[in-house]
C-alpha cells in the first residue's frame, strides 16, 4: 500500500451519503458560506455522472431551473461541506454518463424508474 492510499484511506465515508448511481434523482444538502453565515442549500436533480476515485471522487447533478434552463453542479463526494444526500428516485439507465439528457427537455428527458 503506498502512502497516497494510506492518506486517502483516512477519509471516512460520509454516513449521510448512500451509494449513488447515474440516473438517481437526489436532494443534495450542501453547506455554503455566505459572507459570515453558513447555511445549508438543497440542490435537487438527476445524477448524470459519477467520476473519479479516492479523495477526488465527484458527481454531477443536473436540474432544470426556472425558464427551462439546465443547471449542473458538481460535488466532491468526500467534501465535508456535504451535509447529506437523499436518493428520491432511482432510474433504469443504460450508460454511465447521461450526457444525452443535455440535448433533451420536457417529456423526452424522462428516465424509466428502476424496478426492484
Amino acid at each position: 500500500m503506498n502512502l497516497i492510499e494510506s492518506l486517502e484511506r483516512q477519509l471516512e465515508p460520509n454516513p449521510n451519503i448512500p451509494d449513488l448511481h447515474p440516473g438517481d434523482t437526489v436532494n443534495v444538502h450542501a453547506r455554503i458560506i455566505e459572507g459570515e453565515k453558513e447555511r445549508v442549500q438543497v440542490f435537487k436533480g438527476t445524477i448524470i455522472r459519477m467520476r473519479g476515485k479516492g479523495a477526488g471522487a465527484n458527481f454531477t447533478v443536473r436540474r432544470i431551473a426556472s425558464h427551462g434552463i439546465g443547471v449542473e453542479r458538481t460535488f466532491l463526494l468526500h467534501s465535508p461541506r456535504l451535509e447529506k444526500v437523499q436518493v428520491v428516485r432511482q432510474a433504469r439507465v443504460r450508460r454511465a454518463q447521461l450526457y444525452y439528457l443535455r440535448e433533451r427537455r420536457g417529456k423526452r428527458a424522462r428516465l424509466r424508474e428502476k424496478r426492484t
Binding site: 503506498n2 502512502l3 497516497i4 494510506s6 492518506l7 479516492g54 479523495a55 466532491l76 468526500h78 467534501s79
Partner: protein
C-alpha cells in the same frame, strides 16, 4: 534541524477545516541519518550531510561504506548536504524523521525536473511560433528572427534557441506543510513539486519564510 530527504509519491487532495479541497503532494520523507557535519575549521563551510533510503550493503562501494562507518549509520543510497548553520544539538549518526516539520511550516522543495529531451523554442521558452494561416508553410513552431542583419553580423550571446530541456535542479519555494506523520514517514505539502514520482527531493525550511526572517531578527 529543519531539513530532510524524501521521495515524491504523487499528488492527491485533502480537505481543510472549512471544507476546502487542498491539492497536496505526498512525500515519503525519511527516515534519514546525519552522516557527516561539515565545519568551518575542517571544510571551510558549514553544512549537514544527510543520508536517505537504506539499501543492501552490497549496493554500496567500499568507499561509501567506509564513509558511512564513521557515523555508524546503516547503508544509505542517497547522500545530500544542506547548508545549515550547524547547531549544537545535531550529531553525526542522528536520525531525522518527518516530524522535524510541523503543519503550517513554509518549506522549499528541491527536485530534478522531468527531462523533456531536445525541445523546440515553443515548449522551452514559450515562444508564440508563427501564423497558422495566410499562406504560411513550415513556420508554426519556428523561432522567427534570431538577430539583426549584416550590420551586426552575428547572433547575440544568450539568444534563446532549441535545446535540452528539463532534467535540471528546480526549487519550489514557500510550500505549506499540510500533513506530517513521522510514523508513516509521510509529509504532504501544498501544491506541486518538481520531478517525476519516485524522484529524490530535498526539503528544507523556506529561505524566504517569515519564520526564518523572524529568527534572524529582520
Amino acid at each position: 534541524m529543519k531539513a530532510i530527504l524524501g521521495k515524491k509519491v504523487g499528488m492527491t487532495q485533502i480537505f481543510d477545516e472549512q471544507g476546502k479541497a487542498i491539492p497536496v503532494t505526498v512525500i515519503e520523507a525519511g527516515p534519514c541519518y546525519v552522516t557527516q557535519l561539515r565545519t568551518l575549521e575542517r571544510d571551510g563551510y558549514q553544512a549537514v550531510q544527510v543520508g536517505f533510503e537504506q539499501v543492501h550493503p552490497e549496493r554500496l562501494s567500499g568507499g561509501e561504506k567506509g564513509h558511512l562507518s564513521y557515523s555508524s549509520v546503516p547503508p544509505l543510497r542517497y547522500l545530500r548536504e544542506f547548508r545549515l548553520r550547524v547547531e549544537d544539538e545535531i550529531e553525526e549518526g542522528q536520525r531525522v524523521l518527518a516530524d522535524v516539520f510541523e503543519v503550517g511550516d513554509q518549506v522549499d522543495v528541491v527536485g530534478t525536473s522531468k527531462g523533456r529531451g531536445f525541445a523546440g523554442v515553443v515548449k522551452r521558452y514559450g515562444f508564440r511560433g508563427g501564423p497558422k494561416t495566410h499562406g504560411q508553410s513550415d513556420r508554426q513552431r519556428a523561432p522567427g528572427s534570431i538577430g539583426a542583419g549584416t550590420g551586426q553580423g552575428r547572433v547575440w550571446k544568450g539568444q534563446r534557441m532549441p535545446g535540452r530541456m528539463g532534467n535540471a535542479r528546480v526549487t519550489a519555494q514557500n510550500l505549506r506543510v499540510e500533513v506530517v506523520d513521522a510514523e508513516r514517514n509521510l509529509l504532504a505539502v501544498r501544491g506541486s513539486v518538481p520531478g517525476a514520482r519516485g524522484g529524490l527531493l530535498m526539503i528544507t525550511q523556506a529561505r524566504k519564510s517569515k519564520e526564518l526572517f523572524k529568527q534572524r531578527g529582520e
